[in-house]
């Protein structure tokens, strides 16, 4: 016995000693690493860059052109860019740290800026970006963030996303020039202001016996419907740069007027507007003439054309008659049936898509070179031609003019409310969507719970509170 117990104790002691000593070594080890400047300007050679692009760019063949011409140009350096071939919404926060993310990514500004807190994307050296002066200040600001009193830029804007009104020109009433053009400017009233569009939709519904609709939209889709709130003083987050998540402002200003408009619009639709059904079926419904107009972003233009062709129209006819225009104006009174106070521009929710560079790339300089190449005049123009996007580059926009110029001006004139570039943005949508589908259903089913301004105000207050709860209540911070 005397020998065995000591042996056991000795064994345990040795194991413990090993564990403790190596454990302590690991805890006390000095691991202060060097903070090297990543963008040295020296191109890495013989490397492969993985580029994440969105699905449309891939589908329409733009990505292939981009990669081919880039690879041709940088052949001598041995730099090769390839399609990362991963989901377009890939979360860099999850894949990046473990080495499975792309080197260069193309995503919307809110998605990109979500990565900033964890330092998953690199701050870009503005002086080394070629299109620095060619993109408007507001587009840049979507990718800017102040950290310790210093402003950093995390992405290069390529395209401005804003909802547009899509309508069928051939479904305009034949007499619109005399009957539907009060101000005689040669533009139909129904695409100029919501009141006329509302009246026209009502008329279509009546005349067709409820079989056809004028303006149709999934009103519950807060990306589109929140614009009405913003037009009357509502906002998502307050604070200086619109990122103070403790100040949620859906109920601020006279935003209830916007909610009232949403509720009125529901009356010319059907219950499908309380779900995402319309977002899915509008392509075929517009093509078959059941809907006259809808609101969505320009990147889906080709889907409308495809459905028109499916329905037997020629492509030329389709392109001629499916028209995108800037969103109509809202009545100042906040009541679609009261035009006495005139109209004002609508503020819409929008976004800026652009390129960012992953912090986990081993070739930051080559990646930066790629971003510069992809945002060059030539490639942005190509992107516009193939995908119909609204470029953020002034020189390209000036050349194209028309609607895309208007969109750029909207951004400059602050009538695009750029999606807040903070991570909590994702948590504001559910309560909003719930509210919009409640008020739309309220109108259509004649429940009249939300028929008063007071009820709408309270409803919006609840939305703000729910969003606040989702973001803060449980986090304990």
């Amino acid at each position: 016995m005397k020998k065995i117990l000591p042996a056991l104790i000795a064994h345990i002691a040795v194991i413990l000693a090993i564990v403790i000593s190596f454990g302590v070594i690991s805890v006390t080890a000095d691991r202060s690493a060097s903070g090297n400047e990543k963008f040295t300007g020296v191109l890495e050679r013989n490397v492969t860059l993985h580029v994440l692009e969105n699905n449309t760019a891939k589908e329409q063949g733009y990505l292939k052109e981009l990669l081919d011409s880039f690879n041709e140009r940088y052949k001598e350096y041995g730099i090769k860019a390839v399609d990362a071939n991963i989901d377009q919404y890939n979360d860099l926060e999850q894949s990046g740290p473990f080495g499975y993310g792309p080197d260069v990514l193309y995503q919307a500004n809110d998605a990109v800026m979500k990565y900033v807190d964890g330092h998953h994307i690199l701050p870009l050296p503005l002086e080394k970006i070629a299109c620095k002066d060619l993109v408007s200040e507001n587009a840049w600001s979507a990718y800017e963030k102040n950290i310790d009193q210093q402003s950093y830029t995390f992405g290069v804007p390529v395209n401005i996303q804003q909802p547009l009104l899509f309508y069928r020109k051939d479904l305009l009433p034949a007499d619109w020039e005399t009957e539907w053009d009060d101000n005689k400017n040669g533009i139909p009233d129904m695409i100029e202001n919501w009141s006329a569009l509302y009246r026209f939709s009502k008329q279509i519904r009546q005349e067709s016996g409820g079989k056809k609709y004028g303006y149709m939209q999934s009103l519950c889709d807060s990306y589109f419907s929140s614009g009405y709130l913003f037009s009357f003083g509502g906002y998502v987050f307050g604070g200086e740069d619109g990122t103070d998540t403790r100040d949620i402002g859906f109920d601020k200003g006279e935003s209830y007027k916007g909610a009232k408009i949403v509720r009125q619009l529901a009356s010319v639709m059907n219950m499908e507007c309380t779900e995402f059904t319309v977002s899915d079926n509008r392509y075929s419904r517009l093509a078959e003439g059941t809907y006259f107009a809808t609101m969505t972003t320009p990147d889906v233009y080709t889907m409308f054309i495809r459905e028109m062709v499916n329905k037997g129209y020629t492509e030329e006819y389709a392109k001629e008659n499916v028209v995108m225009v800037d969103v109509p104006q809202v009545p100042v009174s906040g009541d679609l049936e009261d035009e006495s106070l005139g109209f004002k521009d609508m503020t819409v929710m929008g976004g800026v898509n652009g390129y960012a560079i992953s912090s986990y790339t081993s070739y930051p300089n080559a990646a930066l070179e790629f971003v510069n190449y992809a945002t060059s005049y030539k490639m942005v123009k190509k992107r516009y031609e193939l995908l119909g996007i609204s470029p953020a580059r002034k020189d390209v926009v000036d050349e194209i003019g028309g609607l895309h110029k208007e969109i750029n001006d909207n951004l400059d004139g602050n009538s695009i409310y750029v999606m807040p570039s903070v991570r909590a943005t994702a948590q504001i949508w559910p309560p909003m969507e719930n509210f919009f589908s409640l008020i739309a259903g309220d109108m259509l089913e004649n429940k009249n719970v939300y028929s008063t301004d007071e009820a709408l105000k309270n409803g919006l207050k609840k939305v703000s509170k729910d969003a606040y709860d989702a973001i803060h209540t449980l986090s304990g911070s």
């Binding site: 190596f22 454990g23 309380t274």
Partner: protein
């Protein structure tokens, strides 16, 4: 009365069981340590050397292969501790000290990974202890053989015993390792997460810390939490009971129907439910969601017939959506219950029915007196598992209802959410991993207590031994 008495006897049994368990504890411990004491007092020098270094005693007994194997294991474990085990174990307590910063290429500590590797290190230590004890027991056995001049089992023979007497050890090694790593480790991980501040903005590369019971305190102090919890819990219980019953009796009924003598072409009739069985669940669910939507075919026909569109699954529906959920779940689950019931029915002794028919019992009586008791008895374990699966049925309402729907009086939830859906909203949609883990721990304790008691008291558990 009968029910009351049954309940009473149930609780008495439970109490007795518990009391017995406590009473037996000291004996259990004693008997455990008796063996250890014997080895410590009786062991000789070679046993001692195995105490000091694994396998040394075996080598001294000239059991070369076995000794070498143990020695190798000893070296392997020490190497593991030196290389990463020790650091991982310490990491479990510190959860990291250096915050990573990808901008400057600072690797930093990933607290969550550290926690995971720390748990793995603990598992490895337990594993080490198990092997260490096995090593000592083995050498002591050899000593006993040597003392009584019996020849010790050769290495070859011991290896071949792994295919015979100890076949279970061989066969269970892989499954146990697999289950440890991919089932137990994640669960321990989630339980530990409940005691940290992981979630919200506090995710890697930010460092996560232990916070003790803070999350539980926050849950119970939150005014909105309790009402929502009990509403959801009530519905969850109702859902589990109803859906288990519907699926069970639906499947049984269908099997009985197909078992009727007058039904010709059984294989073909049986094919239709099997068709439903073969389509993956998420496709079925998406299909049903569309079918019941405002733009879906059912509303198309309602409107074509001049009716008003019905919001089966919309914001305002409550019981309608719940019933559709039950129905869809039945559509998905009845086929498998049917197959099960068909098999069981084919095993019933037909003599019983013959006798019943001679006595003039109606077919209903036959069902109540013979079929049902038999089937119920045969499927108790299946019923328990089905109940648990239904209780935690995540997919049905996740796919059927829009994610954004929130109901009045519910905190971050809607009126069809089950507890698991609510958990998902909190932990995945809203990033509250730690809170989600804390709630799931609470739910887990409740459900597991209930079902473990039921299981231990169930006839199939008790009769397992009498079976042979």
């Amino acid at each position: 009365m009968k029910f009351k008495a049954k309940c009473k006897s149930f609780f008495v049994k439970l109490k007795n069981k518990f009391v017995n368990f406590i009473k037996q504890l000291p004996f259990k411990f004693k008997s455990k340590f008796a063996g250890a004491k014997e080895i410590i007092t009786q062991g000789n020098g070679k046993v001692m050397s195995s105490f000091a270094v694994m396998g040394l005693g075996q080598l001294l007994y000239k059991q070369w292969a076995k000794g070498a194997l143990f020695l190798l294991l000893q070296a392997g474990f020490i190497l593991y501790f030196v290389l990463s085990g020790a650091a991982d174990l310490f990491g479990l307590f510190t959860l990291g000290q250096v915050q990573g910063d990808a901008w400057y290429g600072i690797e930093g500590d990933n607290s969550v990974v550290m926690m995971l590797m720390g748990i793995l290190a603990v598992i490895m230590i337990i594993f080490y202890a198990v092997i260490y004890t096995a090593n000592i027991k083995d050498v002591y056995r050899t000593q006993c053989c040597a003392d009584t001049l019996k020849p010790a089992a050769g290495f070859k023979k011991e290896v071949s015993s792994l295919l015979d007497k100890n076949f279970h050890k061989t066969a269970l090694t892989l499954p146990v390792i697999g289950v440890c790593v991919f089932s137990i480790l994640p669960i321990v991980f989630m339980i530990l997460i409940a005691f940290t501040n992981y979630g919200g903005a506090n995710i890697p590369p930010a460092l996560v810390d232990w916070v003790g019971f803070e999350n539980f305190g926050r849950i119970f102090s939150l005014g909105e939490f309790a009402p929502t919890f009990f509403k959801i819990f009530g519905w969850n219980l109702l859902w589990a009971l109803l859906s288990t019953a519907i699926n069970y009796f639906g499947g049984l009924g269908l099997a009985l129907l197909l078992n009727k003598k007058c039904v010709k072409g059984k294989a073909i009739w049986r094919a239709f439910p099997i068709l439903a069985y073969a389509i993956p669940g998420f496709i079925t669910l998406l299909g049903f969601k569309f079918m019941f939507s405002y733009g879906g075919p059912i509303n198309y026909y309602i409107q074509a017939a001049g009716g008003e569109a019905v919001g089966f699954l919309s914001v305002n529906s409550k019981w309608m959506a719940r019933f559709i959920g039950l129905g869809v779940n039945a559509w998905i689950s009845i086929p498998s219950t049917m197959l099960l019931a068909t098999g069981i029915l084919s095993n019933i002794n037909t003599d019983l029915y013959e006798a019943a028919r001679v006595d003039g019992a109606s077919s209903w009586k036959q069902f109540i007196k013979i079929t049902l008791p038999y089937v119920l008895f045969a499927t108790t374990p299946v019923l328990i598992t089905q109940f648990i699966n239904n209780f935690n049925h995540f997919g049905i309402f996740y796919f059927l209802r829009d994610a954004s729907i929130r109901s009045e009086g519910y905190f971050l939830a809607n009126n069809t959410d089950l507890l698991i859906n609510w958990l998902y909203r909190m932990s995945i949609d809203n990033n509250y991993y730690s809170i989600g883990a804390a709630i799931s721990l609470v739910i887990f304790i409740i459900t597991s207590l209930i079902s473990l008691t039921v299981y231990v008291l169930s006839p199939s558990y008790k009769q397992e031994e009498t079976f042979r």
